[in-house]
Amino acid sequence: MQATHTAGHAGEHTHDEHGHHPTGWKRWVTTTNHKDIGSMYLWFSFVMFLVGGAMSLVIRAELFSPGLQYVSPDFYNQMVTLHALIMVFGAIMPAFVGFANWMLPMMIGAPDMAFGRLNNWSFWLLPPAAILLTASLFVPGGAAGTGWTLYPPLSVQMGIGMDMAIFAVHILGMSSIMGSINIVTTILNLRAPGMTLMKMPLFCWTWLVTGFLLIASMPILAGAVTMLLTDRHFGTTFFNAAGGGDPVLFQHIFWFFGHPEVYIIALPAFGVISHVIPAFSRKHLFGYASMVYAIAAIGLISFFVWAHHMYVTGLPLTGQLYFMYATILIAVPTGVKVFNWVTTMWRGSLTFETPMLFALGFLTLFTIGGLTGLVLAMTAVDIQLQDTYYVVAHFHYVMVAGALFSAYAGLYFWLPKWTGHMYNESLGKLHFWLSIIFFNIAFFPQHFLGLAGMPRRIPDYAQQFTDFNVMSTVGAFGFGISQLLVLVVVFQSLKGGAKAESRPWDGAHGFEWTLPSPPPYHTFEDPPVFNPAEAHA
């Protein structure tokens, strides 16, 4: 037994003898332990979150007033591109893989993930990809300035930074595919005896579906960027009309990956919320079965709606109609999930610790993002709003207030389990309130900017957009700075604080809460006995 949670924090290696694994840096490079790898994923994702966040502040600083102030339009485009790629692939996705690594084996009573070495490899592919992406800023021509969607022919014009982005995407894709194979296998094969699929915790369900989405969609992205690479260097013309290709083909392929990607991020977030809300409502999750069906339905439909990102590319009318109807359909299972969470709270016995606050923040703001998504689904309206700040506002409500707030809910919820110490509740609450207030100051005005017609991805704008942009920038800086509180909270909890019990939340149930906090390095080497009455907590 020893401290597994410290991520290179030397002062923590003082508990027990270390047992049978290397120490120092070798431990982290060679580890096959799901807890170690989970911690590395989480730290990596937080570092990337800070890097991507700093880039967003460059964007917002430039947009503080009309005119060009701090950066050139070229560099601005690079910031827009890297901010998105880093946040999506470097911050949000690894954060939820980190949660999966830490929690899935403990939730299902497994000793570890199914494939330990694969797990190590999936993590260690990430740093090279991150280095490729960030280093591309310093090569001649700079990073890709195409937006994260990498549309040709613009991406064919770019310099070597584009090739670095392409290889980074390849590596990230490999990492995701290996990670999801591991997760799917773990969930399907390593559950404790008696834990049937319909009895397993909902977080496992969301990751099971997400795993399949990743396995199905990541190769498609890899194919798209590989075709881009050969168009750039080997004379193919997949996306060039002069050689019989079509630039819009890339968009179809990209979004066939890109839309499931949205749910790859959202589904695990739903999973976390489905644990936090019941725990602090002291009640079972309402409608477990319908939650599972909704997750599966969302996962399935996500493959059939991709061209709603392409309403202005010249789709035929029938195509637009089909994609509009299919997109509207997604609102139904998403609505079911929201209603289930709301009903879970109904006649519960609610308390408002930080995880619950973030879950409520998620519920409120994700619902706003979902509802503006319904507006955008309507093709005629979307044609007005496509490529405006309305879209920027919409997906930040879904991605930041959705995925990020859910990640924070998970972090505060499980931190006592990981570190063995309670976090500082007042700081956590302060973090929540600053986040939600500044988030709304930053992003709510962007709806109005988009309605009034301000295009996205521009470093300079007409003067009638000034006031809301000033607001948005103030909010963004407030939001960015508030996020540093998380570091304080996490370090405090690592160093000490009130001892966490094995089950610090009286409403939380499941195998993970039967283990001591922090859990020993190896857990459930013998499968625990599953009590069906405990299920769905």
Binding site: F286, V338, L350, T364, L374, V375, Q384, A452, G453, D460
Partner: protein
């Protein structure tokens, strides 16, 4: 409705007074108030309340004032959606708020234990489905009307270039008129060295001119990367895809100047290629067409003229400023490495033929576009001569249009 009609009268006066199109007031450009119908009024007055009425353009809270039937449909559809999502949001979060207030542990509320209710679950699957099916009807009808580009009165091709729009009138009296429309906001304003004008970034040297009340079909395409031709007041936005034609249409119901921007990231100056459409009366349109035709005829160059170096350089400098300076910069230093310097460059100081071919055909896989279709032989001869004689490139070479003509298509 009184407010609207007063406003419309005001606009009519504005239009009637003529000569105001290029210097139209902000109200004329970007509707700040007013809604086209009952639903629209509900949308802006009800939800956006006091703000909306007192709003200056700067605090615009809603879609721009529509000036086409399509844009009105979109405006109404958006207002309807805004109402529905607001009601849903309030409904759901009223329940949440009730729980948050009354079902607290701190108030001693004991959790009850229920976790399934089939009736409820069927209800909240079926009811939203019905609402969505209901919404699909107006959404479909608006879209079908929006996409009907048949039987236009006038067809114009809009071509996206990095970073300007080219317009060509394809049918009617104006057929044959073609010109580039380049942002006219001075660089000093962008670099904050001069106060910004009223239409900062939304003004061009030559706007697209169309007659009021006519169905104008716009074909979009591009030569380099994907652009998007967009005018919010018309609810028009269509990508311009290199190698393909897309189409859209509008029938402007009010004279005035309407402004939009490129809406697909197209490289470094994406923010600087506005779309400006002037909608004028039929008479003014006819006068404009006659004027353009005359200018076109007189501007045609005599292909047999022999040009002197001074003439070429003078003309070439103007061509350079309009077409080349955005990347290669006025001082010829470029923005390396994406946009190389011309001052002292291998191409500009190398063989004449290689230089002309570079301008004619561009360089595939880079941002260097092909200018063969955009510029006349004379313009290319002039700009190449200018580049070979400007800055430190004092080659003293004269290039005649015939030399360019000879290299075309090779």
């Amino acid at each position: 409705m009184a407010r609207n009609s007063i406003r419309n009268d005001y606009l009519k006066q504005l239009s009637a007074s003529g000569a105001r199109q290029t210097e139209s007031t902000p109200q004329e450009d970007r509707g700040t108030r007013g809604a086209p119908s009952f639903l629209g009024r509900l949308g802006s007055v009800g939800l956006l309340a006091t703000f909306s009425r007192a709003a200056s353009a700067a605090w615009e809270l809603n879609l721009q004032e529509p000036v086409t039937a399509t844009a009105k449909h979109v405006y109404e559809l958006h207002s309807l959606l805004l109402w529905i999502i607001t009601v849903i949001f309030i409904g759901v979060f009223a329940v949440v708020t009730y729980s948050l207030i009354f079902h607290r542990k701190s108030k001693g509320y004991k959790a009850s234990d229920f976790h399934d209710n089939t009736t409820l679950e069927i209800a909240w699957t079926v009811v939203p489905t019905l609402i969505l099916v209901g919404l699909a009807f107006p959404a479909t009808s608006a879209l079908v009307k929006m996409r009907d580009t048949s039987q236009p009165d006038l067809t114009i091709k809009a071509t996206g270039y990095q970073w300007k729009w080219g317009y060509e009138y394809l049918t009617g009296d104006a057929a044959g008129i073609k010109f580039m429309s380049v942002m006219s906001t001075p660089r000093e304003q962008i670099e904050n060295k001069a106060p910004k004008g009223e239409h900062y970034l939304l003004e061009v040297d030559r706007p697209l001119v169309v007659p009021v009340g006519k169905k104008v079909r716009v074909l979009t395409t591009a030569t380099d990367v994907i652009h998007s031709w967009s005018v919010p007041a018309f609810a028009v936005k269509t990508d311009a895809v290199p190698g393909f034609l897309r189409d859209t249409w509008f029938r402007a119901e009010k004279e005035g100047t309407y402004r939009g921007q490129c809406s697909e990231l197209c490289g470094k100056d994406h923010a600087f290629m506005p779309v400006v459409v002037e909608v004028v009366s039929e008479e003014k349109y006819a006068a404009w067409v006659a004027d353009q035709k005359q200018k076109l005829a007189s501007a045609a160059d005599d292909p047999n003229k022999t040009w002197t170096l001074d003439e070429l350089v003078a003309r070439g400098e103007a061509v350079y400023t309009a077409n080349c300076a955005a990347c290669h910069q006025a001082n010829g230093q470029g923005l390396p490495p994406a946009f190389p310097a011309l001052d002292g460059s291998k191409v500009a100081k190398g063989s004449k033929q290689g230089h002309i071919e570079m301008v004619l055909n561009g360089k595939p896989g880079t941002a260097m576009a092909s200018f063969g279709a955009q510029l006349s032989d004379t313009d290319i001869a002039a700009v190449v001569a200018y580049e070979r004689n400007a800055w430190s490139n004092k080659l003293g070479e004269v290039i005649q249009p015939a030399e360019v003509k000879a290299l075309r298509g090779k």
